[in-house]
């Protein structure tokens, strides 16, 4: 019996016996209590495309419950993140995208809305036949998560499904052996890396993304150094002295990472931590649930989490809300909306939280039993980080901008160029792209 089953069983037993207030509320939130007819699309089949992610890992086992509730069959396709991004953009461009619902990231929102690739969700949300507003409780989403829905600028086309903050994850045993305290600033982080390299017993001090998506963790460092990618008017400011200092620090940290860092992305840095190869990790908090899962991790019980370290401008870790959208080309929008509504509802978000995937709903952070699932240290580190966290600007040319930056950061990491020279080049390229 796993923990979740155990909790569920005890909750049921306790409920039958006493029905205390909190549990009664939990039951009132069950999907069956929503005042809509879940069975109205019985027999429909929908196709859903997911990126490989802890959210996908945790919700997939729950999908049979949705199928039993609605009679809708859900065909899930899942791909590793880079392939996922490639397939979605390639298929949408080619007009051959064949999924009803799919995971989305907010950087793409302006483009997706301009091309009308994503469907407007407001209508479904407002339709009493399809949504019970009291049960769904839109205002339960964090303000940042509600903002994500309309970040594309024209209409609401996405519902947030995760909230992730860039935090410092570390191996308690390695830090202790090396005699270093948990770093709270980038200077301390660099010093800790040097100490672990010397006394860490062959463990690499840190693992960082240096591959195609190095711009994601870098953004937190840039903001903490007082730099930015674009200013409020969406003019490039990547060539500023602050941004250069941040990239210089990032490249110096990269020297402490396992070899081959220019090919390391999300999967590789996860593997480096799960296999015990690296001691620190400066990326999304969702890794924590995986590191504490004995089925895939070799470092269970030796993992600490700290808020994002401070730079000269304070701590400003990057944050991210993955979202779920509906394809405008879908022929089964209403059935797809039932799926999206169910997947982002309070009871499902609560169940996911208990599996380690903390959601964008305030209620999911107050679930009964969550304190048993997550150490207080983790919850504190993430909420502290989220209170000062930033999100990258969403512009139509986002990925086109990130490509020269990605290449420049790799050149700096490999020592082929200085941060100053490389970022001057990026500034010039961005001026041209946005000019």
């Amino acid at each position: 019996m796993n923990r979740r089953k155990f909790l569920l069983t005890t909750a049921l037993a306790a409920g039958v016996l006493a029905m205390p207030g909190a549990l009664a509320r939990a039951f009132a939130q069950a999907p069956a209590d929503a005042k809509i007819d879940w069975k109205q699309f019985d027999g429909t089949e929908i196709d859903v495309l997911l990126s490989r992610h802890p959210w996908q890992e945790s919700i997939e086992p729950l999908i049979p419950e949705f199928e039993a509730l609605t009679g809708i069959r859900v065909n899930v396709t899942k791909l590793p993140e880079q392939q996922f991004i490639t397939k979605v953009s390639a298929d949408l461009t080619a007009g051959s995208f064949a999924f009803d619902a799919f995971m989305t990231q907010f950087y793409e929102a302006p483009k997706f809305q301009k091309e009308k690739w994503t469907a407007a969700l407001d209508g479904f949300l407002a339709d009493p036949k399809l949504t019970d507003p009291a049960w769904y409780d839109w205002d339960d989403f964090f303000p940042g998560a509600r903002e994500i829905a309309t970040i594309g600028g024209s209409y609401a086309d996405r519902v947030a499904i995760t909230s992730e903050a860039q935090v410092l994850v570390y191996r308690t045993d390695v830090l202790e052996a090396a005699g270093v305290a948990v770093p709270t600033s980038f200077d301390e982080l660099l010093a800790a890396c040097a100490a672990i390299k010397e006394k860490g017993g062959g463990v690499y001090p840190i693992t960082l993304r240096g591959g195609a998506a190095n711009w994601w963790p870098l953004y937190g460092v840039v903001r903490s150094y007082g730099g930015n990618y674009l200013d409020a008017e969406h003019k490039p400011v990547i060539g500023s002295a602050e941004s250069k200092a941040a990239v210089d620090t990032y490249a110096r940290l990269a020297q402490f990472a396992p070899p081959g860092i220019t090919n390391s992305d999300w999967d590789e840095i996860n593997t480096a931590m799960l296999s015990g190869q690296a001691a620190m990790f400066l990326d999304s908090s969702v890794v924590f649930g995986r590191l504490e899962d004995p089925a895939i991790s070799t470092v269970v019980g030796k993992v600490g989490v700290a808020p994002f370290p401070a730079g000269p401008a304070g701590p400003h870790g990057n944050s991210h809300y993955w979202s779920i959208s509906m394809a405008e080309a879908s022929q089964k929008k209403e059935a797809a909306w039932l799926f999206i509504q169910w997947a982002t509802s309070k009871p499902v978000q609560a169940a996911l939280a208990l599996k380690g995937v903390l959601g964008p709903r305030a209620s999911a952070w107050k679930v009964e039993g969550l304190a048993e699932e997550f150490p207080q240290q983790f919850l504190d580190a993430v909420s502290t980080t989220l209170s000062t966290a930033v999100i990258p600007p969403a512009v139509e040319q986002f990925y086109e901008l990130m490509d020269p930056l990605r290449a420049a950061v790799q050149e700096v990491i490999l020592g082929n160029e200085t941060a100053a020279a490389a970022l001057d080049g990026v500034q010039e390229a961005w001026n041209k792209i946005l000019g």
Partner: protein, 281 residues
């Protein structure tokens, strides 16, 4: 007379329709796309944008090095293997099957496999080198070795293609002429270069053309192993075209690169076609 014409029309119609739909229409729409943007017709502005892009010179250089390097290496290796087969009596058919194996593996799969094997931190190659006391290179993760790494993987994948065609070529040679040369006292070297090779000339040229065109548009291996990085060290024109079209949502720039690729292929195959003509003249 009329009957036979109708007969001809009847039989060429399916091919004509297929060519129009699958070749002519995409080609025409690519050309149209290359000369416009969503805002309207822009003339050669898309081509100008491609040429003035940051790092375009490097991308062009990579494409030339990759195409020529991969073509030459796989051709020389494939030719040597095919020639060596001439001297093997026992187990030749078995060896031929083994040599052909890489052809049966999807480039995506071999890309992922080599990517993992060559990973400097976790891969088996550098681990083995370390056992031998050698610090392995960064392979796909270093700007100095990334292009060479993807060339070698491409050579591994496509040498069997050259081998198979050239092997068939060697098997089809008249053994009488070659034996006559040997009886007349020609060395193996003289026999190869003055008797066999001239007879194989057209087959070698055609193998080169196919291999060249294939290497020129190689995508899977590079995209899977390096995505064109680190920096732009292994980015070729076809990778750039893909990024422009499907990652940056600029199909018109992708079309402009596509036209460039098409022109280069057409010019070089025309040149080769003339070489083949000279032979028969």
């Amino acid at each position: 007379m009329i009957g036979s014409r109708r007969f001809a029309v009847l039989f060429t119609a399916p091919l004509t329709v297929a060519l129009l739909a699958l070749l002519i229409y995409p080609l025409v729409s690519t050309v149209v796309l290359a000369f416009r943007t969503p805002e309207g017709v822009v003339g050669i502005a898309n081509f100008a944008a491609v040429f003035t892009q940051g790092g375009f010179g490097q991308v062009l250089g990579n494409t030339v090095v990759f195409t020529l390097g991969s073509t030459a290496l796989s051709l020389v290796l494939g030719f040597s293997m095919a020639y060596a087969m001439d001297f093997i009596e026992v187990g030749r058919r078995w060896l031929v099957s083994v040599f052909m194996l890489p052809l049966a593996i999807m480039p995506v799969v071999s890309g992922l496999t080599f990517g993992m094997m060559l990973n400097p931190a976790l891969g088996v190659v550098n681990q083995t080198l370390l056992q031998l006391g050698i610090a392995g290179p960064g392979w796909a993760t270093d700007t100095t070795t990334a292009l060479l790494t993807v060339i070698l993987i491409d050579v591994w994948q496509w040498t069997p293609f050259c081998f198979v065609i050239l092997h068939a070529g060697f098997r089809s040679l008249s053994s009488e002429q070659r034996e006559a040369a040997r009886v007349d006292g020609a060395s193996a070297f003289q026999e190869l270069f003055h008797v066999s090779l001239p007879m194989l000339r057209n087959i070698v040229i055609i193998t080169t053309v196919f291999r060249f065109m294939d290497a020129f548009k190689a995508f899977d291996t590079i995209y899977i192993v390096t995505q064109g990085g680190p920096g732009r060290s292994s980015e070729t024109l076809i990778i750039r075209a893909f990024m422009e079209g499907f990652r940056f949502y600029k199909p018109h720039t992708m079309a402009a690169i596509g036209i460039l690729l098409l022109v280069v292929t057409m010019v070089s195959t025309r040149f080769v076609g003339r070489m083949l003509d000279q032979r028969s003249a």
